[in-house]
């Protein structure tokens, strides 16, 4: 099967949604539009049991606390979706709300590096010496996202969000291969951060804004917060347990 068939493709979505490209300026807005104005049931990313919610924005319009405009946020969404795409197993990063998770994390202690040693002097260092940048994580994300857009323009003369999946992958691969010049950090480092944050958003407890409706956990058969397995752990068979979030406790 061609890679693209399994993946959510921006183009396909545009075709089926019938919404003009111009309206697609941000996940929050498009999500809201679709949820409110169209009955977009046919997008496979709608998690079962939540028919009103749609691609791009679980929960409808949600606010941004770090990103200052939807264009940046939408680039993040598309990049994370390429890393963790929707498929027949279930939603991808967009459907899981990974972008919102990352947005919130970037505005807090994660983005501000508040538990990291950030004192100068800064030197590049060897690979075995780890993070040596003076940039905070949220500065890296902002720069990385701008560069994705720049790469889209220079390689394809288009906005990142309007690229075909393979074109986005080409750009992400260039980041991963450390081919993109970044200031104060390397594109490989940024790529790893982005990949890791995507997985975190897919699988962290939904109290953090991602892992929408625990769909990340469901795909993986991880039951989340259970008080104990003392009665199940001897079982010879795999035990399928309905997941539970810390946020659902009575």
């Amino acid at each position: 099967m061609a890679k693209n068939d399994k993946n959510f493709s921006r183009r396909d979505f545009l075709k089926t949604s019938g919404i003009a490209t111009g309206a697609l300026i941000g996940g929050g807005i498009i999500g809201g539009l679709i949820g409110a104005n169209t009955n977009q049931q046919d997008t496979a990313s709608s998690p079962p049991g939540t028919p009103q919610e749609s691609l791009g924005s679980p929960g409808g319009v949600r606010g941004l606390v770090f990103f200052k405009n939807n264009a940046e946020f939408e680039i993040l969404n598309q990049a994370t979706e390429r890393i963790f795409p929707e498929d027949d197993l279930g939603p991808g990063a967009i459907g899981l709300g990974v972008g919102y998770f990352i947005d919130q994390q970037l505005s807090g202690s994660y983005g501000e590096n508040s538990k990291e040693y950030m004192q100068p002097p800064f030197y590049e260092g060897g690979i075995t010496q780890g993070y040596q940048s003076r940039l905070k994580r949220n500065e890296m994300f902002r720069q990385g996202i701008q560069l994705m857009q720049q790469e889209a323009q220079s390689r394809f003369n288009a906005n990142f969000v309007d690229l075909e999946g393979e074109q986005m992958d080409e750009i992400l691969t260039a980041f991963q291969e450390d081919e993109i010049q970044m200031k104060g950090t390397t594109s490989l480092f940024f790529f790893r951060l982005l990949r890791q944050a995507t997985l975190e958003g897919a699988y962290a407890d939904p109290i953090y804004g991602g892992n929408h409706n625990m769909e990340g956990w469901r795909m993986k058969n991880f039951p989340g917060h259970q008080t104990a397995y003392i009665n199940e752990i001897d079982s010879e068979d795999f035990v399928d347990i309905e997941p539970q979030s810390l946020g659902m406790e009575h």
Binding site: M118, G125, Y131
Partner: protein, 570 residues
């Protein structure tokens, strides 16, 4: 302005396992003890919403705040040492209980071979088995001498285990509680290793198989196999930790006080005695001096060494000349192993931090090293600690690390992958050591500790030998694909490995080659004791804390005896 407080009998720097054990034993004997802990008070009641992988396992809620203090690191002396700016390779503790709150609880006794490694290796293989730059030495104490203290620690902690391993030293009493559940996953390992002629046994665990009251009258509950154990606190009070055992035991005497948010920056010394410690209140930045008759450093391997260095107590080790003892013999851990991908789904998300089975057939000197270019070995275990979804994305080789294929493979294999893991011994090397950094400082203005460390040829040889054994076991377990661990090259401080740092303040029989004697009493200051895995002259093939606990009980006895009699204890 510095405020000098009233003097006490004993002050400990840090309140983890070592600080807690010293406090309980000394306070029970009527000594007035103060524990200075840089972090905050915390306990079981704080862990009711702890099943949160992101907060605790990824963002390191319970661990050291590196914005205040870290270490610097380089692989060798030619490199520029740079700060460890975020946690990775090891996860340092902070707050009541130290790392004893978020540990797994795999609780071992080092082998008789470990304590006399130099003598026994020389006797069996000749004096040149390892090149001279491997600075292995005996510990100045034997297993038999330490046995009563192992016994004490295991009874305090209520360790769950079974004494059927033919390679262990003699035990004076059985494990306080029976082993944990032998789950279907562990049974696979048991069958496979038995088929291979090895001797499997249940891993000794501080997640207790049943409720237990320890000799101090402290209650430890039965483990519920909740799957959120290592990197988390236990909401059931079932993972033995300092804050549910030795700390309350010490407090109940009325002789113990813990001061939180108290960061010690110096051990005060006058002539050949220490007089107390200087610390900052981390909230107000006020400075205090806590005078004491005895100072015990219980601040973990790294800060125990750092505090001696900044206080200029003892002679700094110099790799050029081989002279000096402080900072010498830093060692770590080698992690050989193999993953197996299976057809069927297994309950990999269930587990407990120390739930496992092991074999010691390739550990210590259990096998002949005559034809090997390394000494020692590794324990090999199958543990079922509860795989959680952010950190567990196992993919077979040649799967891309992101995108559609990654997603499918990581989801598919999440419940279909097992690992056989070794904890390989780590031999000290002349070039692996700790010193003070000349550039970087902590927020109190004290230089950071500098680590110079790399894997050695001994490590690489041991790693590849044990990796093969792990792969054989995995094959026998019936995995459809077995993936042996990659060979090791340079030590990398980024990915998590283990919090089993050792050395730097090593114990021994001779002041020329060790920092403390076998009561963990400093050779240069008789009322100063230094205890922790820093005392290890090398690292063995197990987790350290069983041996650390034994040394802490030994140290407590030394402090009590010293407080009565004075003088050197050896």
């Amino acid at each position: 302005m510095v405020t000098t407080l009233d003097s006490v009998d004993v002050v400990t720097v840090g309140v983890g396992w070592t600080g807690g054990i010293i406090a309980a034993e000394c306070a029970k004997e009527g000594l007035k003890v103060v524990g200075l802990e840089r972090g905050r008070e915390r306990g079981t009641e704080d862990f009711s919403i702890v099943h949160d992988e992101y907060r605790y396992a990824i963002r390191y809620e319970l661990m050291q705040d590196l914005s205040k203090e870290t270490i610097t690191f380089r692989n060798n002396r030619q490199q520029r040492a740079l700060p460890m700016r975020q946690l990775g390779s090891f996860l340092l503790g902070e707050g009541l209980g130290g790392s004893g709150t978020h540990w797994n609880g795999q609780t071992w006794r080092f082998l008789p071979y470990d304590f006399q490694i130099k003598t026994m290796t020389d006797e069996k293989y000749g004096a040149n088995k390892l090149p001279a730059e491997y600075t292995i030495q005996d510990w100045g104490i034997t297993y038999d001498e330490l046995e009563p203290y192992f016994d004490r620690f295991e009874k305090t902690a209520g360790i769950s285990g079974e004494d059927i391993n033919p390679f262990w030293g003699q035990r004076s009493s059985p494990y306080p509680t029976p082993p944990m559940k032998k789950t279907p996953i562990l049974q696979r390992f048991e069958t496979a290793t038995s088929n291979l002629g090895l001797s499997p046994f249940m891993l000794p665990s501080a997640n207790l198989s049943e409720a237990y009251e320890n000799p101090d009258g402290q209650q430890i509950n039965a483990c519920q196999y909740c799957g959120f154990c290592e990197r988390f606190g236990c909401e059931y009070g079932a993972k033995t930790s300092p804050e549910i055992t030795v700390v309350p035991a010490a407090r109940e005497t009325g002789n113990y006080e813990i001061k939180f948010n108290a960061n010690v920056v110096e051990v005060m010394k006058e002539g050949d005695r220490v007089t107390g410690v200087r610390y900052y209140d981390t909230q107000t930045f006020e400075e205090f001096i806590q005078p004491a008759n005895v100072v015990v450093l219980t601040s973990y391997v790294l800060n125990n060494a750092k505090l001696l260095m900044v206080s200029e107590i003892g002679q700094q080790y110099d790799p050029e000349s081989g002279q000096g003892t402080l900072g010498k013999n830093y060692a770590y851990q080698i992690l050989p192993g193999a993953s197996g991908f299976f057809e069927e789904q297994m309950n990999t998300f269930m587990g407990a931090g120390a739930l496992g089975m092991s074999v010691d057939d390739f550990n210590g000197d259990a096998f002949d090293h005559g034809d090997m270019d390394f000494i020692h070995g590794a324990s090999l275990s199958m543990t079922q600690t509860g795989s959680r979804p952010i950190l567990h994305n196992p993919i077979p080789p040649d799967t891309p690390s992101w995108g559609a294929d990654f997603k499918r493979a990581s989801i598919e294999n999440y419940t279909r992958t097992l690992g056989v893991g070794g904890q390989g011994a780590s031999m000290p090397h002349r070039e692996n050591f700790m010193a003070l950094d000349g550039t970087y400082k902590d927020i109190y203005g004290v230089p950071l500790l500098q680590l110079t460390y790399n894997f050695t040829d001994q490590d690489r040889a041991l790693h590849s030998y044990i990796t093969e054994k792990a792969a054989e076991i995995m094959q026998e377990m019936g995995a459809k694909t077995v993936v042996a661990g990659n060979p090791i090259s340079d030590y990398d401080i980024v990915p998590y490995q283990t919090t089993h740092n050792t050395g730097g303040t090593i114990m021994g029989a001779d002041p020329a080659t060790s920092v403390v004697n076998n009561f963990l009493q400093h050779w240069d200051a008789e009322n100063l004791f230094v205890v922790g895995a820093g005392n290890f002259a090398h690292n063995g093939g197990y987790n350290p804390t069983g041996t650390v606990g034994a040394l802490a009980y030994r140290c407590a006895e030394g402090v009590i005896r010293y407080s009565r009699e004075g003088g050197s204890l050896v």
